[in-house]
């Protein structure tokens, strides 16, 4: 087992336990006087109107799609970039093609107005 990854695991556990400790400590120290008004949903003092879980517009999802596909693209780009020094010009052409095809997608999204935040 790689010691470095063991460290990552331990750091993750520690990072989760730090807030647990802090919240536990605060539980001992802080006052606790709950009240009906105090525990109501905070909307600048007004009563909550309508459903809390509002429905969102589809624009959010369009951005998420474009993001996911470009994120996947970076997964291919990073190994390519690391290996690039030993690959030469042909690899650059291959990556041009890959990026070109994806750029068509970005241009399409742009032209169709999927990049407009309305």
């Amino acid at each position: 087992m790689n010691e470095q990854w063991a460290f990552v695991a331990i750091l993750t556990l520690l990072a989760i336990s730090v807030p647990l400790i802090a919240i536990g400590l605060a539980k001992v120290l802080r006052p606790k006087r709950p009240g009906t008004i105090k525990q109501s949903t905070y909307e600048c003092g007004l009563e909550t109107v309508g459903e809390t879980w509002v429905q969102f517009k589809v624009q959010y999802y369009l951005f998420a799609i474009i993001f996911v596909l470009f994120d996947v693209e970076t997964v291919f780009l990073y190994p390519w970039a690391v290996a690039y020094g030993k690959l030469g010009l042909f690899a650059l052409v291959e990556m041009f093609i890959f990026l070109g095809i994806l750029l068509v997608g970005l241009v399409y999204a742009w032209r169709k107005g999927a990049l407009e935040w309305v």
Partner: protein, 176 residues
């Protein structure tokens, strides 16, 4: 130590997977799914596939889960608690159970060392420790890059076309 780590990760992955299929709220299901993805990333680390582990976190935890969560937010029905299962659960239990039984039996009983003719198989199956020491870690990223640019070039370029089609298709479908 490896076994300990495997035990924890397997418990995490399968437990979270169980959470996905049993929780009553879709949003909570999605959270369990994310935890399961993290567990799988840990399994990849154990297997010496470090780049894959990072990719798993980047794509599954950081991206696909965002898609799922956005989709949940966009479809209001999903907010409510619901009766999660349909009437097929008896049948589904039988199917899933028998699939698991078959796969597990095959996995356990097959003498895997015989299935790969090359001599190297025995070396790797005795120890995963070689993964860290033999350069699988340090230069694997570069090797993946070279592999994508030579042997798997076709797959690589086809992936870009698939991504393009998915992008255009998803935009067209989701917009109207």
């Amino acid at each position: 130590m490896e076994q300990l780590a495997f035990g924890v990760l397997a418990l995490l992955t399968l437990g979270a997977g169980f959470g996905v299929i049993t929780s009553r709220t879709v949003f909570v299901s999605a959270l369990w799914l994310v935890l399961s993805f993290v567990g799988v990333a840990g399994i990849y680390v154990l297997l010496g596939a470090h780049f894959l582990a990072v990719t798993q976190v980047l794509v599954y935890v950081g991206a696909i889960s965002v898609l799922v969560l956005f989709a949940i937010m966009l479809t209001r029905d999903l907010m409510a608690e619901e009766h999660p299962q349909n009437k097929q659960w008896v049948l589904a239990t039988i199917v899933a159970g028998s699939v698991f039984g078959t796969l597990a039996t095959i996995g356990y009983t097959t003498d895997w060392a015989l299935t790969w003719p090359r001599g190297a198989a025995g070396v790797a199956s005795t120890s995963t420790e070689t993964a860290a020491s033999s350069g699988l870690g340090s230069s694997a990223v570069e090797a993946i890059g070279r592999s994508l640019m030579s042997e798997h070039l076709l797959a690589f370029e086809v992936v870009s076309v698939v991504l393009l089609v998915a992008l255009i298709g998803a935009i067209v479908i989701a917009r109207d």
